[in-house]
């Protein structure tokens, strides 16, 4: 059949979806060559060097690359994002309480969740950059630091938040809610499948096939609890609680609306982020490139 080379992070959720596709043989006629890497940035590297055809990456990154001349396309994969977490007994209740507190942020100052949080705070007249003490670090380290009490609140990737939740931490602000607060209909899928325009043009069939398979997998994951039991060995969940949170958060993140609706909300969000992050974040363009989203052909074969 046709070959599709896919790059994925070993500990990421994309690996789960691929496992569902494999076990249910959803990608009939497609030969999936999957490369697992340890770093979340490996997918970008692999796409750029042409070592894989498709990888799951950041929406903003694709937008930025396009602006800089790389002809990449994007298709929504998940809208799961992080949250600001605090200890259950913490006195912090809302964004405003973060003033003068130590907030640890996973990733860098250009992390998408962090930008959304900043924008939300600004709407409430709070400049977190100035009014809170910020620590940046690698996600696992930030996760650890909150538990050690070195930070009073932390903004981390959703999977770390899920583990914290299982350990009795509480959400101070869910970035999904923040997105809605910024005027979006629904949270946008901030990560998705990326592939080059060139590949999409010459292998449209392959891409469409794969997207169809991915949707079928999503359906199964939404419906079936047994499916999750089968996935459990992959998930590195420490306990039942964590496992359940992982499952539910993943389900929440599965995008269920047409690409066009996504694109509309994405444009709004992009504008907001451009205002917060500036060209440093979004690149030279101040508007979202309308050609960013890939439109699969209606299923017909």
């Amino acid at each position: 059949g046709e070959t599709l080379r896919i790059g994925t992070q070993k500990t990421g959720t994309f690996a789960w979806q691929l496992d569902v596709i494999r076990r249910h043989d959803l990608a009939t006629g497609l030969d999936l060559k999957i490369s697992e890497y340890a770093s979340p940035d490996a997918g970008k590297l692999a796409l750029n060097s042409g070592s894989v055809d498709l990888a799951v990456v950041d929406w903003l990154w694709v937008a930025r690359s396009r602006a800089l001349g790389a002809k990449l396309l994007f298709y929504p994969y998940s809208s799961a994002v992080g949250s600001i977490m605090v200890k259950d007994n913490s006195p912090l209740r809302k964004i405003g309480d973060l003033k003068g507190r130590v907030l640890a942020i996973a990733g860098g100052p250009l992390d998408k969740s962090w930008l959304i949080v900043q924008a939300t705070a600004m709407r409430q007249g709070i400049d977190l950059k100035r009014e809170a003490t910020l620590e940046f670090g690698a996600p696992p380290l930030i996760f650890q630091k909150l538990q050690q009490g070195e930070a009073e609140a932390s903004l981390n990737f959703w999977n770390f938040c899920a583990r914290l939740e299982a350990q009795g931490y509480r959400r101070l602000l869910d970035v999904r809610d923040a997105e809605v607060a910024l005027g979006l209909e629904q949270p946008v899928a901030l990560i998705g499948y990326a592939f080059s325009e060139e590949f999409a043009a010459s292998h449209k069939h392959t891409i469409d096939r794969f997207i169809a398979a991915a949707r079928s997998a999503d359906d199964i994951m939404l419906r079936s609890d047994e499916e999750w039991d089968a996935l459990r060995p992959l998930m590195n969940a420490e306990d039942e609680w964590t496992f359940k949170v992982y499952r539910d958060r993943t389900r929440d993140g599965i995008p269920r609306r047409p690409v066009a609706a996504e694109a509309a909300d994405a444009r709004t969000l992009f504008g907001t982020l451009a205002a917060v992050g500036g060209p440093e974040l979004v690149g030279p363009q101040q508007e979202l490139d309308p050609g960013l989203y890939y439109q699969p052909a209606p299923l017909g074969d």
């Binding site: 490369s35 697992e36 340890a38 770093s39 940035d41 692999a46």
Partner: protein, 245 residues
């Protein structure tokens, strides 16, 4: 024997500290030992270790060979040194991340790129050390060899290399460790196997026992190689040295 005592002491210290702290963030020798055993049985550890070792050996060989030759040439020829030195400074101070990214982008996310990136990272360090060694060569022995018309080969083998031996020794020992550390980064960023790949995944899960079990397995391997191969060879090579009184 001292070797054994000393390692035993190290493990003992670790065990005591771990027992006192009782933290998931510092697993004791027992926990790590069990993890190692489990990973050995599953075949995971030998597999990833073999991948890493292959990369370490290839890049080390490339870097040592080219680096020694280039460093020696720069140490001997002042003119060459003057011209090549700025390039060397650029190369040696280039962040590993940059070389790795460029290798991966331009060569592809494959073995060649990985090995090359590591070799390029290590190369200038070998050059810098070997250059010092070449500069410190004894001109009197050189004259002797010229007077007696030593062939090029025998000059290298009997006059130059023995003088460079401590530099070779230093740069290969410290070099092997640098290569291994860079291989980890290279694997972390873009290889689907190897110890670095495992460490990266373990780090994102904050699985310290896993991290330690792989790190320690490699270290044990190095200890074995040192004890059985490097040190006996070295002892032979410096037999001639008068022991300080």
């Amino acid at each position: 024997m001292p070797r054994v005592y000393s390692l035993a002491a190290l493990v003992a210290v670790w065990a005591v500290v771990a027992a006192l702290l009782q933290s998931r963030l510092l697993p004791g020798p027992l926990t790590v030992g069990t993890t190692i055993l489990a990973d050995l049985r599953s075949g995971e550890l030998p597999f990833h270790m073999a991948c890493t070792l292959g990369r370490v050996v290839s890049s080390f060989a490339i870097a040592m060979l080219l680096g020694s030759i280039a460093g020696y040439a720069m140490g001997r020829s002042r003119a060459l040194d003057r011209y090549a030195d700025p390039w060397l400074i650029v190369l040696i101070n280039m962040p590993a991340l940059v070389t790795i990214i460029f290798a991966y982008i331009w060569i592809g996310l494959n073995e060649t790129a990985a090995i090359l990136a590591v070799a390029v990272n290590k190369l200038p360090n070998v050059m810098v050390v070997m250059r010092e060694g070449a500069r410190a060569l004894d001109p009197e022995l050189d004259e002797m060899a010229r007077a007696f018309k030593f062939t090029g080969l025998s000059r290298i083998r009997h006059v130059v290399i023995p003088q460079l031996a401590p530099y070779l020794s230093a740069s290969s020992r410290s070099g092997l460790s640098i290569v291994w550390k860079i291989v980890l980064v290279v694997e972390l960023i873009g290889r689907p196997n190897g110890v670095g790949f495992v460490l990266g995944s373990a780090f994102s899960l904050f699985d310290i026992a896993q991290i330690l079990s792989y790190a320690i397995s490699f270290i044990v391997l190095m200890l074995v190689i040192e004890s059985l191969l490097v040190q006996p060879l070295e002892r032979r090579a410096i037999r001639w040295r008068r022991r300080p009184a």
